[in-house]
Amino acid sequence: MVLEGILAVILSPTCLLVTLLGVIVGIIFGSIPGLSATMAVVLFLPMSFGLEPVSGISLLMGLYIGGISGGCISAILLKIPGTPSSISTVFDGGPMADRGEAGKAIGISILYSFIGGILSLIALIFISPFLASITLKFTAFEYFSIALFSLTIIASMSGKSVLNGLLSGLLGMALAFVGISPIDGFMRFNFDSINLLNGFDIVAVLIGLFAVTDIIQTGANRRTLSEKGNIIQYSLKGFGISMHEFKGQFVNMMRSALIGLGIGILPGIGGSTSGLLAYSAAQNGSKYPEKFGTGIIDGVIASETANNATIGGALIPLLTMGIPGSTVAAVILGGLTIHGITPGPLIFVKNGVFMYAIFTALLVANLYMLVVEYSGLKWFVKLMGIPKHILLPIVMVLCAVGAYATGNNVFDVWSIFAFGMLGLMLKKLAITTTPFIIGYILSGMAEENLRRALIVSKGDLLPFITRPISALFLLVAVVSVVMIVIKNKASKKATA
């Protein structure tokens, strides 16, 4: 099974080729501010449908890794994060570039992106079979509690306001009710429209919220669109780090990788938070915290190791429980389901070959990233100069094509516009959209398991708190919300 999985990737020229394509496109999307890793994966999702499952998912993995890794190029050369996960790379990467060490900063970023990716891949390979064997024992009670736990964690961690996060998640759940209900197949909330029989297509929802909303917003910022920023000169020599420095950074590297991994496993928090957390952990643990922000390699290493380690982390709950650990993982979940692969505890039993193929694809994609980003840096920097007023409309056309291609249905094209407008409205109300998408995805799972559980227990709610694993998740969910509320109150008092 293991060998079959590995060979399915290595012996397939199509698979190797589309992974390479994914990495290249990913780096381009990651390095251009305004286009994100999420957008890259969302836009290519419909194309992956036409490929066979292993190649299709390898393409998405390449895009994911490329997208997260490409962000450091503009973070260092333009001091603008190319993708949200490289926000914290700017803190020290920017000052390093100012000092004329841009090449060193990029070299280090690429190397540590690779290391972060590989460390999290190792964790993924060892943790997921173990987790899958535990989740085998889960019943409807545990699944419902986990869904609830995931939703509250996202709501409380993303954005400033817990209430806004909750509203966003609940709205996502509500819109997912449209169409055929789980268990009994009852048709609900479709307002007699045949287009809504199966609800809103997940691809259309994702394209709408994560691409169309951003494109509409460029209309509001059109006056600043042509400000290119100055691309700083750089010269690459090796990876910019000596063996001595590497040894000195070992603790920082491992700590950042673990933080990235942990944040990745927690649902919906994502790369930007993990980079920021690893950065502040590196600063707190450092002998010279005052030097952070002045352009030291410690900061760049923490940020880039952590954001790439998030990738493997996010895939752990995705593959073993069907719970996406980040927005990109949510998109990949859509891709897996369309290829007929149901993530969950049985994935190693039912799709074992496929699982090992995914692991191999991740390894291949990380290697590609290391080579392509390093050797092709010159071209990626050139592409950063493409004028936005030309690029963004073309991306919009690709969005429309992607939406139409999922079901050969023009209703999905209308949906991306509607969800783009919804995303715009939420942004205007200062409500983040990440909880929305996780709510949308987990709604069906939460409902199905709650109803199954209540049928088994004959309407008794007690098993949710008497079963230990279920109780633990519910407890953590409650504690996380309470802690954030207390923390917010404390910070409000401090500022008042």
């Binding site: 419909p46 036409g50 209430l163 806004n164 909750l166 509203l167 609940l170 709205l171 759940m173 509500a174 009710f177 209900s181 268990i183 009994d184 009852f186 609900r188 909330f189 169309v212 494109i215 509409i216 917003q217 460029t218 209309g219 509001a220 910022n221 059109r222 006056r223 669109l225 042509s226 004028p387 936005k388 007023h389 030309i390 963004l392 409309p393 073309i394 919009m396 056309v397 429309a400 094509v401 139409y404 291609a405 050969n408 023009v410 094209v413 209308w414 991306i416 783009g420 407008m421 205007k428 109300l429 200062a430 709604s443 939460a446 709650l450 109803r451 209540l454 049928i455 004959k458 008042a496």
Partner: protein, 157 residues
């Protein structure tokens, strides 16, 4: 718009949505015995939305701090947003009737004009880029990825 006003509008919009969801949930019937039914979860979510939006409303009403009530001028280019939304709306509506190629070229040219400023306003360049990229995308998807795209008006020719 002040932050207070924004939060008040937000909580009322969600409250109305919560009430609406709760109301339409009564049109959904339970089929299986012992099952809470397909209306149960929507009702739970509707009630949760109502509770959260009312809490948000109360918190917003109670907060009178200067920073919270200060009116902040939006830096957004309103004309730019409006034109983008209209152009996008027209594009998705005309996508099928006009067909992919014609509707996309029109959308691209107009959107590039909307987003450009005096310095980079080059209509002929926009038209050329729009035609080339649309045709390239069409051939890539239809012939390389085997996907269907609406032909629209070009079908008649």
């Amino acid at each position: 718009m002040s932050e207070k006003r924004r939060d008040l509008i937000g909580s009322i919009v969600f409250l109305v949505f919560g009430i609406f969801l709760f109301a339409i949930s009564f049109t959904v019937k339970t089929i299986i015995e012992n099952d809470v039914g397909p209306a149960f979860m929507p009702k739970v979510v509707a009630v949760a939305i109502m509770i959260v939006s009312v809490s948000k409303l109360v918190i917003a009403l109670k907060n009178h701090s200067a920073e919270y009530t200060a009116i902040k001028k939006s830096k957004d280019d309103k004309m730019g947003s409006l034109l983008t939304i209209l152009n996008l709306g027209a594009y998705v509506i005309l996508f099928e009737p006009l067909g992919f190629i014609i509707s996309s070229i029109l959308f691209l040219v107009l959107q590039m004009i909307i987003l450009s400023d005096k310095v980079n306003f080059k209509p002929i360049k926009f038209v050329i880029i729009s035609i080339i990229s649309t045709v390239a995308i069409y051939f890539l998807f239809v012939y390389a990825f085997n996907l269907m795209l609406p032909e629209g008006l070009l079908n008649i020719i």
